[in-house]
Amino acid sequence: MPSESRQHDGPSLEELSAFIDHELSAEGRASVEDHIAGCAECRSRLDGLRQTTQAIRGLPMETPRRAFTIPPEGRRSWSWAPVGWLGGAAAALLLIAVGIQNLHLPAGPAATSGSTSTVSGGLAYGPAQGEKGAVAPLAAPAASTQEFDSQSRGSATNAATVVDPTNSSRRLVLDTDSPSYPATGRMQVTAQLIGSPSTSLNSANQGLTLMLVRNGLGVALNPVGVESWNGTPIFGGWYDLAGFPLSAPRAGDYRLVATWVIPDGSGRVLQASVPIRLTGS
């Protein structure tokens, strides 16, 4: 089929496809460029292939609902199904997502600034629901947006910034309001996707995941799109550490890891992490 697709003396299907991918030699590339400059038919074929490629690359990158892990000891002492506390985490996160979805918050700035208590009261993750909740969304009052200013990172107490090596204006900034918390405390997390090619506040569409990890095990945090001002999608939340289904002892040193698969079809990944210490029981 590819060889059949060669028409007149123009480039073959493979050559046009590789041209889109910048996978031709300089000579091959120049040859295709020369030809399509004077051939409407091949320009049209190239446009069609480009459209198709863009449609595929436009598929959203989804975030897995499970935390992938390795066994503590010995392979079959462990199962990769979402069981045990990891399963509890997944269930809790799902429940929270559904709970939040059902809040029906009114739109507009007034609702935003007043949403803290509404959200806290409306979440379906408290003990009364029989699930240990893990995440409370960060209501994003207007005053708080100053804290998200990337220029003010210096004042953050626990922050990490990773710059895209291929695009210095693109950065992943992860921070928490403290490097250390009581195991029953609340942790504020923000992840700024500066220079994202997408404005989506859906973490799956942005390719963002947040995980708290220790010794090969992790809890996936539900990154809530909280604000998009000045074109920067920001995710995060207030996370209720008491509700995290952590294995004993809960106290100890963890890492909070933000992974951002840049949603431009390149497959490039930025990853930032900060240390988190939990104290007490």
Binding site: D21, T63, R65, A97, P137, A139, T209
Partner: protein, 200 residues
């Protein structure tokens, strides 16, 4: 068969530590690759549960075998494991269900922030569904080539390493896959109007 140049040099230290049994280092590799690996599997097998199973099994096998990894880039090696698992999945003839509607949308949470226009959202969902179906209709060898290229953004030599086929085969499979997807999408001009038609 793997490309000699490691495109992810930052992996080297993590892989080196993981080979010595450092679980934390391997966990960082999991975190780094879980989304691209899962999405590769998702576009290959279609179902979220199956894709998650394949991803988890790939990480597990990689952890078990990482001591055997010498000079090959970790990413290509990991994806090779996962691709083989996808083929195993096909060989077993396991049926996979139709992808559920875009339930990731349930993670879009309104906190006084403008939400996407419902019509735009519906149109985007329909586009994604048709693209996904067109990829799913491809023969497996073509499907994996186009997924590694257009979903995972791998270079041709990386794909050749993952699939253990010559570069020319990669080029040919990607081109043929794109042509077939294009042919299927063009059956829906209301969703995928041609650029030249749009301009008229």
């Amino acid at each position: 068969m793997f490309p000699s140049k490691d495109k992810n040099p930052d992996d080297r230290d993590l892989v080196s530590r993981a080979r010595r049994g450092d679980r934390e280092a391997f966990t960082q590799l999991i975190v780094q690759y879980q989304v691209p690996l899962y999405n590769m599997a998702l576009r290959m097998v279609g179902g979220r549960e199956d894709a998650a199973d394949i991803s988890q099994e790939a990480f597990l096998r990689a952890w078990e075998k990482i001591r055997t990894l010498r000079d090959a880039p970790f990413k290509s090696w990991l994806f090779q494991i996962a691709v083989n698992l996808c083929y195993d999945h096909f060989r077993r003839g396991r049926r996979y269900g139709v992808m559920p509607e875009d339930d990731q949308a349930s993670n879009v949470i309104g906190l006084g922030i403008a939400t996407p226009d419902p019509q735009e959202h519906a149109e985007a969902s329909e586009r994604h569904r048709l693209v996904h179906e067109s990829i799913e209709a491809l023969e497996h060898d073509m499907r994996v080539a186009i997924v590694l290229r257009d979903v995972n953004g791998m270079a041709y030599d990386e794909i050749a390493g993952v699939l253990r086929v010559p570069l020319g085969t990669v080029k040919s499979r990607i081109a043929r896959a794109r042509a077939q997807v294009q042919e299927r999408l063009q059956r829906h001009p209301e969703v995928f109007p041609r650029e030249d038609a749009r301009a008229e």
